[in-house]
């Protein structure tokens, strides 16, 4: 399940969906990404998430399909918020179920690593009242290339 939208998500509801009528999977791994107060040495009060609407879900679906080819995983949820967010707000959720924990951990991290470098989202942070586009990190590129 892929969802890109403004409203907040509820991690408990998402986990319930991953686990409902699912007694084959012993492992559920989730990742939640949130707006931090400090980013790269800047004090952040909020951020605006721009995206490329026609492409985002397609891009995320492609990443999930790649993960399903690489690992024996079953259900996958990827949720990404867009629009205006504030410190502590949820940004992204990735949930993966699998028979075995190794596959679930690897696939969840892989999805996040590729989302970071391939999915068309851009963050504009509000730093002490001033807006600034977040710079992409070479460490994210390197992390994705390690898979």
């Amino acid at each position: 399940m892929i969802r890109v939208s403004e409203p907040d998500f509820n991690v408990a509801d998402e986990i319930a969906l991953l686990e409902a009528d699912n007694s084959q999977d012993g492992a559920v791994v989730t990742f939640t990404g949130r707006v931090r107060q400090q980013n790269d040495g800047h004090d952040v009060t909020g951020l605006f998430l721009e995206h490329y609407p026609a492409m985002t879900e397609k891009s995320l679906l492609g990443i999930v399909e790649q993960a399903k080819e690489k690992w024996r995983i079953n259900r996958v949820s990827v949720i990404h918020r867009v629009g205006q967010l504030y410190v502590g707000d949820n940004i992204v959720f990735v949930g993966v179920t699998s028979k075995h924990r190794g596959d679930a951990f690897a696939a969840a991290e892989y999805i996040m690593d590729y989302l970071k470098v391939q999915a068309p989202f851009w963050k504009k942070e509000t730093r002490s009242g001033q807006d600034a586009w977040v710079e992409a990190k070479t460490s994210d590129q390197q992390k994705a290339q390690q898979w």
Binding site: Y52, I91, A119, W133
Partner: protein, 83 residues
């Protein structure tokens, strides 16, 4: 007719979120489209030819040698920073 979209910092720098453009002929590559855009707007060169800029055709990330067709949706954008 071709729609070309710009996002995020690049959209702000170019001062617009999209242009439409007529393909002068078939068998036109994305790299050639970039050259055409710069021909029409020389001050875009530094921004569009920046090696960090990513490109997609019909919502798939592609390289400069990708062949584009009439009706395609092309996008130029800075490195993504979601998640």
């Amino acid at each position: 007719m071709l729609t070309v979209l710009f996002f995020a910092r690049l959209r702000e720098q170019l001062g617009q979120s999209s242009v439409t453009i007529e393909l002068p002929r078939d068998d036109f590559t994305l790299g050639q489209l970039t050259e055409l855009l710069i021909e029409q707007q020389p001050d875009w060169q530094k921004l569009l030819e920046n090696t960090s800029i990513l490109t997609s055709v019909n919502q798939q990330m592609v390289d400069n040698d990708h062949v584009i067709n009439d009706g395609d949706e092309v996008a130029y954008f800075p490195p993504v920073t979601g998640g």
